[in-house]
Subunit: 250 residues, 2 copies
Amino acid sequence: MTLGASALARVRIVLVGSREPGNVGAAARAMKNMGLHALVIAGAPSLDLVAARRMAVHAADVLDDCRVVATLADAVAGCGLVVGTSGRDSVMRAGAAAPREAAPAIVATAARNDVALVFGPEDHGLSTEELARCQRVVAIPASDAYASLNLAQAVLLCAYELRLATLAGGVGEARVLAPHERLELLFAKLETALGAIGFLHGEGAPHVVRQLRRMLGRADLEEAEVDVLLGVARQIAWAARFIPPAGERA
Amino acid sequence: MTLGASALARVRIVLVGSREPGNVGAAARAMKNMGLHALVIAGAPSLDLVAARRMAVHAADVLDDCRVVATLADAVAGCGLVVGTSGRDSVMRAGAAAPREAAPAIVATAARNDVALVFGPEDHGLSTEELARCQRVVAIPASDAYASLNLAQAVLLCAYELRLATLAGGVGEARVLAPHERLELLFAKLETALGAIGFLHGEGAPHVVRQLRRMLGRADLEEAEVDVLLGVARQIAWAARFIPPAGERA
C-alpha cells in the first residue's frame, strides 16, 4: 500500500513558544520542501510573522494558512496522535525513538487520524510537562559533540523522514484513535481517582503520572477504549469515597 | 563492521560560491550536529566569515578550521570520491541517487579515502560543468511543489544520511581510489585523444564527454586503473597522428 501525499495532509507541525521569526520561516520552507502544509504556532503571541514570511521564500502560503493559538492543548485538539520532539538531554529521552524508527507508524496513523508533531522553543525545547502531553517522543540522533539542532533543521529532518516513509508505503491498516482532548480528560480523571485512593502521594507522584501517560499514550487508544478507562476512573473515585480518614482506619 | 565516527572524519563538505554567511554558519552547525568537521569554502572571496560564525552558534570551531580556496578543483584535490548535489531540475538529475541510497557506499569509501560532498550557490546550485567534475550526483527527494531546499538544510540532510549510514555500519571493504586530480588528468587526455580521432565533434561533443565522465566516475577507479586508461588515451593520440587530413582520405 502506498499512502501517497494524502497521509501528510493530516500531519500538522506545532511550534510551541518560538522566538525567532527566521526559524519559523525556515521551518515553513522545510515543511513545503517535504510536502507538509499544516502549521500551528502556539504560545508565541509576540512572534513577528511578517519577518517569518521573508525567510519562508516560496513557502509564504504555509504561513498564510497557519493557525495561531494560545496553548499546546489548543494546538493538538482533535489529534489522534501527538508526537513530541526532544533533545538528547531531556528526562523524557529514555523512551524516545529516532525519527526514522517512528516515521512509518506516524504516517500509517495519519492515514485516518490528525497527527501533531510538536517542537519546543529554540533555547530549551519542550518542557517535561509539555512532553508528558505527547503520546510518543522522538529524538534526533545527533552528535554528542553538539546535539542541539536549530529549530528549522529539526523540523526538516522529521518532515523528511515522514515524507520518505510516505513514499515507501504504509505499515498496515490504521485505526481511528481517540482525539487528544479525550485522552487528556482520561488522564485528569485517572489522576484524581488514583490520588483519592492514596496511590499518588509524595514527591514521586508526578513521575508516576508521567509513566501512566506514556504507557497509555503508546497504546493508541480508540474512543471506545478511552470510555472504558473513564469508567474505571469513575469507579475508583466512587470507591475512594468510602475510605475512612487516616486517623479512623483500623 | 561498524565504521564508527572515523569514516566521517574523511568526509569534507565543499560549499561552492556561497553568498549568504548565515547559510554557511547554519551549515557548519548542521555539520557538527551530525559529527562532520571538515569544511571547504570555494569560490566565495567576499563571504563574510565573521557573520557566518554568529549563525554557527556552538560550531564556530568548524569555521575556524575551514579551508578557503579559489576553485572547486582545489577543494576536491586528493579526494578518492567527489559527490555533487543537485536540485530536481538539473540536467544531471537523471543519474542522481537519493542521499539515503548513496550514503552507505559513500561512508564505506570514506573509510579509506578522502571524500568530498559538494554544494553549489544558493540561487542556482552547481553548474553543469561543476557537476561533470563529480563522480556521483545526489538529489534530495523533495516535493514537486517546492523542490529547492535552503543550502544549510541540504547540507543537514546529506550529513544526516551519512551519519546514520555510519552508525548502521559499512558495506564491505573499501578500496583506495585514485585522487581526483588524476581522474581529471585522465578525462583531459581522453577528451584530447578522442577529439583527435574525430570521435568528438559538433554540438553533441560536450554531452558525450559528460557521459564518459559519469561512466568512469561511477567506476571507482584505483590509481593503477587510471594508469591503464591513461595508456589507452596515449595510444589513441599516437594513432591519431596517422590520420590523413579529410581532403586526402580515400
